[in-house]
Symmetry: C2
Subunit: 118 residues, 2 copies
C-alpha cells in the first residue's frame, strides 16, 4: 500500500470513528437526561474505572494501553461536558416550568432551548 | 432505555472504537514505515488540516465540532508519537545494519527490537 492509499483508508476510518463517537454521545446525553430525573451526579468515578478497564481489555495493540487511555481521557472529558449541558438545560427547563406554573405560560415556552450547540 | 442498558451499549461502542483506533494506528505505523524510506517528516500540517476538515464534514452531532476537534487533537498526538517511534526504531535498525556491515553480524541482530511497547 502507498502512503496515498493508507490515507484514503484513514479518512474512511475517521468517518466511522465520528459515527461511533456521535452514537456514544447520544447515549451519554440520554444518561444525562435520566440522571436529571434521579439526581445522580455526572461524575461517577466507579463507572469511569469500568470504562477504562473495558477499553484496556479490548486493546490488542499496536497502541500501548497508556496511549489509548490518553485518548479516552479526552473522550470522557467531552462526554461529561455534554452530559452536564444536558442536565443543566433540563434543570433550567424544569425551573422555568415551575416558574411558568406560577406566572403563566410565557416562562415555560422560552425554556425549550437546549444549549447543545454551545 | 434504562441507564444500565445505555451503559451496556456504551461499553459495546467503546470496544468498536478501540478496534477502529487500532486499525487507524496500524495504518499510521505503516505510513511511518514508508516515511522512513522517503525521508518525509512526521509532522505534516497540510495533511492534518485535511483530517480535521474530513472529521468536521462527517459530524452530524450531537457533539459540537469544537468538542470533536478536541478528541481528534488527542488522537493525532498519539498517532504522531506512534509514527515517530516507528521511524526511530527503523532508523535505529538501519544504523545498526550499516554498523553490522562494517563490524560483522552481531550489531544487526540486536536491532530487531521495535520499541512499540514503550
Amino acid at each position: 500500500m502507498t502512503i496515498e492509499e493508507l490515507r484514503i483508508r484513514i479518512d474512511e476510518l475517521d468517518r466511522q470513528l465520528v459515527e461511533l463517537l456521535s452514537e456514544r454521545a447520544r447515549a451519554a446525553q440520554m444518561i444525562g437526561h435520566l440522571k436529571a430525573a434521579t439526581s445522580l451526579p455526572v461524575y461517577e468515578p466507579n463507572r469511569e474505572k469500568i470504562i477504562y478497564a473495558n477499553v484496556r481489555a479490548a486493546n490488542k495493540g499496536p497502541l500501548p494501553d497508556i496511549e489509548l487511555t490518553h485518548i479516552y481521557e479526552r473522550i470522557i472529558d467531552v462526554m461529561r461536558a455534554l452530559q452536564r449541558n444536558e442536565l443543566a438545560s433540563q434543570r433550567h427547563a424544569q425551573a422555568a416550568e415551575q416558574e411558568g406554573g406560577a406566572l403563566g405560560h410565557a416562562a415555560g415556552e422560552s425554556s425549550s432551548e437546549t444549549g447543545k450547540k454551545s
